[in-house]
Symmetry: C2
Subunit: 154 residues, 2 copies
């Protein structure tokens, strides 16, 4: 990587990572299942510098509780032609304390996917990293989640 | 999960998973680093039912080659108020054969991030899963990657 290219990647300060986490609604959660990673989109909220999300009783719940997990968010800023990504790593724990459960329930973390999501998990970061970089392919970031891209599936 | 809720989640056939992979440009790649998962956004192309992406010589390269990895894509279809996600799991291998390297180079897989990305990796799926579901929170999917959401960072 040349010095110029290195300069093009900016590390984000923790405060800015939290600000991006705060204003983003969906992240991708990676967990280890057996010996391989799996990824699930999840909606989450930030609560006192932890990540809280709901889940059912399946694979995602038990793997995240048992092992390390990672939540990643990313986005594109058209004004600066920059892409950014933030990753939180840590261990997620079931929220078991009734008081904490009630507090978690008040976070307006409505499930966006059908199915019972009775359990609250809290991911406390052991590592928080973020970066922003000028992208040479802004078209890539303009298309995801657009109606145009998925119009044939309507 | 009630029968009604179960019905609301549709499994996608492999052909539809491939079609979505084909028309998507950025995915999230999960790899195992040490004992924890990490996630990176990557741009990729589909080549003969494999996923090809470029990378540098750092963590991402060696972990994906050594261990299982997973690539996930997702999106939202406004017309049907449905969200979908597709996950490919498998092992990624370095493209070493000169003929295959030349073929990979012809895939127009331009890097979208600064830095040398000299290596081509090919992820051959061992598992391919996809699902689509009506979402109760379409607002979640309307905001990611929008300028509105990140406007304070311009």
């Amino acid at each position: 990587m040349s010095p110029k290219q290195r300069d093009a990647t900016e590390r984000l300060a923790p405060d800015e990572c939290w600000e991006l986490l705060d204003r983003t609604l969906v992240g991708r959660l990676a967990v280890i299942v057996g010996e391989h990673p799996e990824i699930f989109p999840v909606n989450y909220v930030v609560d006192q510098k932890t990540i809280v999300f709901r889940t059912g009783s399946g694979t995602k719940l038990w793997s995240t509780v048992r092992d390390q997990c990672a939540l990643e968010i990313d986005g594109y800023e058209a004004g600066s032609a920059s892409a950014w990504s933030v990753m939180v790593r840590g261990r997620a724990e079931l929220v078991l304390d009734p008081g904490q459960q009630a507090a978690a329930g008040a976070l307006h973390l409505d499930p966006w996917q059908p199915g019972d999501k009775n359990h609250y998990l809290r991911l406390t970061p052991e590592s928080l990293t973020g970066r922003r970089f000028k992208t040479t392919r802004p078209d890539i970031w303009n298309t995801p989640d657009s109606d145009a891209r998925t119009s044939t599936f309507h």
